[in-house]
């Protein structure tokens, strides 16, 4: 589903080159629930933005659902983002001027979907996240957990092949975080492929597989000098 091979991302200024990702390799199979962990500045978000075609990369290969994406133009990348990828952001990223219904409708409109189908999908996805009664509410009228559920509904409404979640519980309290995570687990059980970036080991532990990033490369968890088995077991480590 998602395969990056020797991928690199370099930020260049006049005086310095900074590698955000270097010789980065990852292979996420269809239906997997993968947590990508790593300390701040390790390249987790860069990985996610490249995976989600929000940014281009400097070298290597990236196949998404069988498509080599490096040579795609902006329109083609937009189309893939719209049709194959569902995003769940840490800050929810709902559009404050639009109500819940209209927020979920945004990607469906860009797909050129007919109004009747849009409405059906929106209501189905709202029911899926338990917020069908809040369709006319504005984001500011919802709790953080509800907003994240709306964001998940927006991601689900387009029936994406891949769900990318960036710290989906980062802005939520424990109870709301748990309910959002349970929702993601439900979605995964129904067959969705989920890649979740988090620095929360507890959250990562709920995923099927963990991929750890340090200095822009995938490494074994044991290679992270901050992680020691005793600390991990005691739950003392936070990224």
């Amino acid at each position: 589903m998602l395969k990056m091979t020797h991928l690199s991302k370099v930020y260049r200024t006049e005086v310095v080159e900074t590698y955000a990702l270097r010789d980065f390799n990852i292979d996420v199979k269809e239906g997997e629930f993968v947590a990508v962990t790593g300390p701040s500045g390790s390249g987790k978000t860069t990985f996610l933005t490249i995976a989600g075609l929000l940014e281009t990369f400097s070298g290597g290969e990236y196949h998404l659902d069988g498509i080599e994406v490096s040579n795609l133009n902006d329109n083609a990348r937009s189309k893939i983002r719209n049709e194959k990828i569902g995003f769940i952001f840490q800050a929810f990223n709902l559009i404050p001027d639009l109500n819940v219904f209209d927020n979920i409708e945004v990607p469906l409109r860009y797909r050129g979907m007919k109004a009747a189908e849009r409405k059906q999908r929106i209501m189905e996805s709202l029911e899926r996240v338990g917020l069908a009664s809040r369709a006319k509410h504005y984001p500011a009228e919802l709790s953080g957990g509800q907003q994240q559920r709306v964001a998940i509904a927006r991601a689900l409404a387009g029936s994406p092949r891949l769900l990318l979640a960036d710290e989906p519980t980062g802005n939520l309290d424990t109870q709301m975080a748990r309910s959002v995570l349970e929702l993601l687990e439900d979605i995964h059980r129904e067959g969705a492929t989920i890649v979740m970036v988090t620095h929360d080991p507890e959250l990562a532990a709920r995923a099927q597989r963990n991929v750890h990033i340090i200095d822009g490369q995938v490494v074994e968890l044991s290679e992270d000098p901050r992680f020691h088995p005793a600390q991990v077991a005691a739950g003392e480590v936070r990224g």
């Binding site: 929000l54 940014e55 902006d74 189309k79 800050a91 559009i95 209209d102 860009y110």
Partner: protein
């Protein structure tokens, strides 16, 4: 098109939206009326005078000794003989006023001596049998004055003109069936009836103001030179000899008598200068209206650019989210263009009503014509195009916001 969500989003930016819509409305209302005024002034300035403007010039001679009308009469006759003898001059005539001068005599014209209400108003030009040839105005019916018919009178004398020549517009106004020739008319200041012996082709009156619009081509030629404190000599140069004639004529007059004043600045004027002077206020008004329109349009365009740029800056994250959710650059561009179009449509709808309202008020207060709806339609299109043009640059900037903005924390 995403009109519904754009309208929904606009409800959250009411102040800016309403301000820009109002600015568009006011601009449309003012610019429509301004352009209408400009067009009217241009039309007025382009009206034909009916005289041979290319070869015609005017000399104003103020008499140093104004006490003796008979001497003035004799001097004028001598002056005219001198002018007509110049090789560069085709013909010359005395006249109290002439087309486009701006000042002169106008009088009520009646068809019956006891008529209370005037039939129309007309310019009264006192001249002689050389007037038509000098003006370059053709007779379309009847005959010219004879030398024996041409007399003289003082300004305070009652007019005694047994024969008059009138312009075709006046003839039509008095006798719409076309039978003015040979008929009797009454000039209010005259005590005796006047018979129409000739009808000229188009001949413009001296008055150019908007009040005189209905009478702009009404002219009565009276065969008498007016013995006033000054006189105008209309001089028609031979083709291509205007400059020479303008040099020769004042010399010839001073050779006749130095007891006169010919202003060195505007004592001798080409007809082009007369026209320039006559329509100065119209030209000034047209330029002022054009400047006001241009400034208003520029301010409105700047307002749209400013507000849209502000909105783009304010919504960078939202644009990034839309891009992340699949919007193409064209989708983002279209979003801002559509948003502007909707605001513009709201603005021009109010503006169209305002434009007509302002015109109705001006028609009731001033000598104004009714605003043609074509101007409102053209203004609507122009404002909408201006809006789309103004929003283009910030909208293009918005369309280049990267989708990665969605992942940036504010």
């Amino acid at each position: 098109m995403q009109i519904k969500p754009i309208l929904a989003a606009m409800r959250h930016h009411k102040a800016g939206t309403v301000l820009i819509a109002l600015q568009i409305a006011l601009t449309l209302a003012i610019v429509c009326n301004a352009l209408f005024i400009i067009q009217q002034r241009i039309e007025r300035m382009a009206r034909p005078s009916g005289v041979d403007e290319t070869n015609l010039f005017v000399i104003r001679s103020d008499w140093a000794d104004k006490s003796d009308p008979q001497r003035i009469d004799a001097q004028m006759r001598a002056d005219l003989i001198a002018l007509r003898q110049l090789g560069s001059v085709q013909d010359a005539a005395p006249i109290n006023s002439f087309p486009l001068l701006g000042s002169g005599w106008d009088n009520f014209i009646k068809l019956q001596p006891d008529q209370v209400k005037m039939t129309t108003d007309s310019a009264i030009f006192f001249s002689d049998e050389h007037a038509l040839a000098t003006l370059g105005t053709r007779l379309i019916a009847g005959r010219n004055f004879t030398a024996s018919e041409a007399g003289a009178q003082q300004p305070r004398d009652a007019m005694h003109a047994a024969q008059v020549i009138i312009s075709k517009d006046l003839a039509h106004r008095l006798y719409p069936d076309g039978s003015a020739l040979g008929k009797t008319i009454y000039v209010t200041m005259g005590r005796t009836p006047s018979t129409v012996i000739g009808i000229t082709d188009t001949l413009q009156a001296h008055m150019t103001g908007s009040w005189a619009g209905p009478y702009a081509y009404n002219a009565v030629l009276v065969p008498a030179q007016l013995l006033n404190d000054y006189t105008y000599y209309l001089v028609r140069a031979r083709p291509g000899q205007l400059d020479a004639a303008m040099r020769d004529a004042p010399k010839a007059l001073f050779a006749q008598s130095r007891m006169r004043i010919i202003d060195h600045k505007d004592g001798v004027m080409t007809f082009a200068q007369v026209r320039q002077r006559a329509y100065g206020p119209d030209r000034g008004m047209a330029i002022l209206m054009a400047i006001i329109s241009a400034v208003l349009l520029a301010i409105t365009a700047a307002g749209i650019v400013g507000l849209t740029s502000f909105w783009v800056g304010q919504r960078r994250k939202q644009i990034g989210v839309r891009r992340a959710l699949g919007a193409t650059r064209r989708d983002i561009l279209n979003y801002f263009l559509t948003e502007n179009l909707l605001i513009g449509i709201g603005g021009v709808m109010v503006g169209a009503v305002l434009a007509i309202g302002i015109n109705v008020w001006m028609v009731s207060q001033f000598e104004m014509a009714r605003l043609s709806l074509a101007y409102v339609a053209a203004g609507v299109v122009a404002l909408l195009v201006l809006g789309q043009g103004a929003v283009l640059a910030p909208a293009l900037r918005a369309s280049h916001v990267s989708p990665v903005e969605a992942t940036r924390s504010v």
